[in-house]
Symmetry: C2
Subunit: 133 residues, 2 copies
């Protein structure tokens, strides 16, 4: 079934994801991968990311109009805090949160993953509370 063949390209994409704590988008990943394997195409990056997401080792952070950002799940579960002003994404340790129960879900719904995002304004952006010019 989900047999995934090991290739140079995939190894590179995975390395980039593991090395980066910046929640990069496909384009940034592509650029980073190209530093080692200049011939890798953007299409391949998308296909690889897709496979990783299906495998559950990578999660996505999607914002309309902006490119999807990808996040390597390094063992520890974590969620995200997204600044609406500067767009920066911070990690939030899930351990500090009480387990979110699957209460009140529609009948028979089986949860495989929980996406929790705190939308708001980060400290830096609050500091510079100049109304947008």
């Amino acid at each position: 079934m989900a047999m995934v063949r090991q290739t140079r390209q995939r190894a590179a994409v995975i390395e980039v994801l593991q090395a980066s704590r910046e929640h990069p988008d496909a384009s940034a990943i592509h650029a980073a991968v190209r530093e080692r394997l200049p011939s890798v195409s953007l299409g391949t990056v998308y296909r690889t990311l897709d496979a990783l997401v299906r495998d559950g080792v990578v999660v996505t952070l999607e914002r309309a109009g902006q490119a999807t950002r990808y996040d390597w799940r390094e063992g520890t579960a974590h969620h995200h805090a997204v600044c609406r002003t500067c767009g920066q994404i911070f990690d939030v340790d899930a351990a500090a949160l009480p387990g979110v129960p699957s209460a009140n879900l529609p009948g028979g719904f089986r949860v495989t993953d929980i996406h929790l995002e705190f939308m708001g304004v980060c400290g830096d952006c609050q500091a510079s509370t100049n109304q947008t010019p």
Copy 2:
């Protein structure tokens, strides 16, 4: 400041959102609005939705590759359960969830909104567990 002028078009978009429990995307909203005001353009729908989101009366549900879906916040806070198989989106009453604390957030981060999504497989899709043909 955020003075929003009342227009036929905006009223129609809001009515459609309030009437729909389907989490429609911009295109579906556009179609529904056109049943009353045939001349409304898709651009206007997007601009109106944008304003409503900024106002905080509408929240978005974003999935890469697919159109953003819009959700009227009818008083009660609620979250979502998204079926990975059929794409259907169910509401989850937030009242049943314990308050998600803002613990462990980056310094000074002020939360304005919480997006919580349960990803998984709905009962119907589990029932028909035929491997995808």
